[in-house]
């Protein structure tokens, strides 16, 4: 329910600083997803919000109240831990109901709640097992159920679905999406899964090395990444990067690089014209390349197809452009043969340009 504001949050372990001023505003009922490579400080951020790690500097505000000195239990939150953190000596039902039992809720209410959430995560038949007798995925679902049973205003999820199989993961994801619409909660969710991040998030926060790189709606981040890191991190298969140089010929803007000379237009061309550095990195998503045998030579990338990966309706082609590898995603029925050199046109708005030195988007 509450709005959360991380105000220049800093975390140090002794001499090493692992979070460098996290500035984040999470509105009421917002589903925020933290993504980033391993070790970038996602769990640390979450644990500081939970009150399990002390705040070295900065402040955490919840509904306008500074909470960084409060005990976890005074913060009205529920959390799913990355390593589940189940109570080994309690069975599943007792694990799920622990918080409710501490609150001395009536037994009938507790039983009802336990059955309800056990049903949501599909654990009804395991209620009397101890965690030791459950599989990894089942334990993870117990951790999930335990958090759901506790009706808190803030939910913190640290990779809660990482150990589930694809089907279950899909189900739980849908369940979470439904829940976030139905109930008024503020959810913060850490994941490595692109699809989870894209489908669940109202706002995605990309972190790297203890800094926030960019935050915004999934669409915003996908379409307008502010730097090369964000562009390469979101999207699967990842964006292709080719080093090149900006050059203007007869009023047209070209990106020249090893094995290609691509004429660009529209907004990207305007930005390239305005930019005073010539050395750039050209970024194109695999899905923004389309096979086009008839396009004029300066509008296409000519690529040597080396490998074709069939992934169902779509196939991913691994191609060579000079020495660089370029991935192309296209419909599986497109007739391509390995070893050919083919022409691929770039979709409108498919061109991303980054300064080669600062790696910032132009």
């Amino acid at each position: 329910m509450p709005a959360i504001h991380l105000d220049n949050l800093i975390k140090r372990y002794g001499e090493t600083q692992v979070l460098h001023g996290i500035e984040l505003e999470m509105a009421d009922n917002e589903f925020t997803v933290l993504v980033g490579p391993s070790g970038c400080g996602k769990s640390t951020t979450l644990r500081m919000i939970a009150g399990l790690e002390s705040v070295s500097d900065g402040e955490i505000w919840v509904d306008g109240e500074a909470v960084s000195h409060l005990e976890p239990k005074e913060r009205d939150l529920a959390m799913v831990f990355q390593d589940y953190a189940l109570y080994p000596h309690m069975n599943v039902a007792q694990n799920i109901s622990f918080a409710l039992r501490l609150q001395r809720r009536p037994k009938s209410e507790i039983d009802k709640k336990v059955r309800e959430v056990a049903d949501v995560v599909g654990l009804t038949e395991f209620l009397h097992r101890k965690p030791g007798a459950l599989s990894g995925g089942q334990r993870q679902r117990v951790a999930m159920a335990r958090a759901l049973a506790k009706d808190s205003g803030i939910f913190l999820f640290d990779e809660p679905l990482s150990n589930l199989d694809a089907k279950l993961r899909g189900q739980m994801r849908a369940e979470l999406a439904l829940m976030s619409q139905r109930v008024e909660k503020n959810m913060i969710y850490v994941t490595h899964d692109q699809i989870e991040a894209m489908t669940l998030a109202d706002r995605i926060v990309v972190m790297h090395g203890g800094y926030i790189q960019q935050q915004g709606s999934p669409e915003e981040l996908f379409k307008r990444p502010v730097n090369k890191f964000v562009a390469g991190f979101l999207g699967s298969p990842p964006m292709n990067f080719l080093n090149g140089e900006i050059e203007e010929r007869d009023g047209e803007v070209f990106i020249l690089g090893e094995g290609f000379a691509l004429s660009i237009e529209g907004a990207a061309a305007e930005k390239a014209r305005a930019h005073n550095h010539k050395l750039v990195t050209l970024g194109i998503r695999p899905s923004d390349l389309r096979f086009d045998a008839d396009a004029p030579a300066h509008k296409v990338l000519s690529l040597d197809v080396t490998v074709s990966e069939y992934i169902g309706a779509q196939s991913v082609l691994l191609c060579k452009c000079g020495t660089e590898t370029v991935m192309v995603e296209l419909a599986s029925e497109t007739p391509v043969a390995l070893g050919q050199t083919l022409k691929f046109a770039v979709n409108a708005n498919g061109v991303h340009l980054f300064d080669r030195e600062t790696e910032k988007a132009l």
Binding site: K73, F81, N91, A99, L102, H128, R129
Partner: protein
């Protein structure tokens, strides 16, 4: 190897596999063998000797063969002997009180000191010092401290204007219990601390988020998870408490009267002063049986608990 397997007939292969399997099954026994032999000689032989001796009227000047066989007479006389019963009672009281207090204080201290504050490791080391002192020295030390006129305790009481206490006279049993608690609480403390520090940290964090207060964390999470270690520790202390000898020997020699004459002391006196080896052996066997019953009882209890939990689970899973 792969070639051989491919070319040999299925029968030969099965035979070979059987042979390897049998060898595999035997391996542990081969390794256990030497230990078993040593145990039989070092443990079972003296034990058998003691049991054998307890059926005889045996004076230290005789060899066991010369002693007269008297059947269960030693056991029966002992059972009717009020002094033996008194001694047994003292032992039971002593063991009960020391183990109870040591467990409560030791575990309490461990819960209190299980945190990362500067200087804590120093403090922990200091806490386990008493355990490192030889029992005879502990006995001597406490005897002086308990001395009615020049002892530390009474001098302190006097300087505070309080009446002095007749430590090793009227309150002898209490005094030896206090000394034992002083010496052996550290044992419980370090084991409890080790158990605490190996608890899953994240489960405790989860409990904090679930809203457990410090007490509730101890009561619902820490103690249940430490229980297996605590049971074994308590059992070890109990067995030890039944056999304590030196400290009491030095402090009170079992007196005044029989008030601190625990079984181990009585056994040693029966053997050396009264020169009745057979009776002493019978007494030892009573003690042994008592300890055996305690240990087996404890194991049976945990087994029973596990079985009950399993049954509840089975029933519940059949229901759903």
């Amino acid at each position: 190897m792969a070639d051989a397997t491919l070319t040999s007939s299925p029968n030969a292969r099965t035979a070979r596999r059987r042979r390897t399997e049998r060898l595999n099954r035997l391996t542990p026994y081969l390794f256990l063998g030497p230990a078993a032999v040593i145990m039989a000689i070092a443990l079972l032989y003296p034990l058998g000797y003691m049991v054998w001796g307890s059926f005889r009227d045996w004076d230290p000047s005789q060899t066991i063969g010369e002693a007269e066989f008297v059947g269960l007479k030693n056991y029966i006389t002992l059972w009717g002997d009020p002094n033996f019963r008194e001694s047994l009672g003292v032992t039971l009281r002593f063991a009960f009180f020391v183990v109870t207090f040591e467990m409560v204080i030791g575990v309490g201290l461990a819960l209190l000191l299980d945190r990362n504050i500067r200087g804590m490791s120093m403090l922990r080391t200091m806490f386990i010092l008493p355990m490192m002192i030889a029992p005879v020295v502990v006995g001597l030390m406490w005897r002086y401290m308990y001395h009615p006129t020049v002892g530390t305790f009474n001098r302190t009481l006097e300087s505070l204007g309080l009446p002095s206490v007749d430590w090793l006279g009227q309150h002898a049993l209490m005094s030896v219990i206090i000394a034992d608690i002083w010496q052996w609480t550290p044992f419980i403390f370090i084991l409890a601390l080790a158990a605490l520090q190996s608890l899953p940290r994240s489960a405790l964090e989860a409990a904090r988020i679930d809203g457990a207060t410090a007490w509730q964390q101890i009561w619902y999470i820490k103690l249940p998870l430490m229980m297996p270690v605590l049971i074994v520790t308590g059992l070890l202390r109990l067995i030890d408490a039944f056999k304590v000898l030196e400290v009491i020997l030095v402090m009170t020699e079992g007196g005044p009267g029989l008030s601190t004459e625990i079984l181990a002391l009585r056994i040693s006196r029966t053997a050396t002063e009264f020169r009745e080896l057979g009776v002493a052996a019978a007494m030892s066997n009573y003690l042994l049986l008592l300890l055996l019953a305690l240990t087996l009882g404890m194991f049976a209890f945990t087994r029973w608990q596990e079985a009950r939990a399993a049954k509840v689970r089975m029933a519940a899973e059949e229901d759903s």
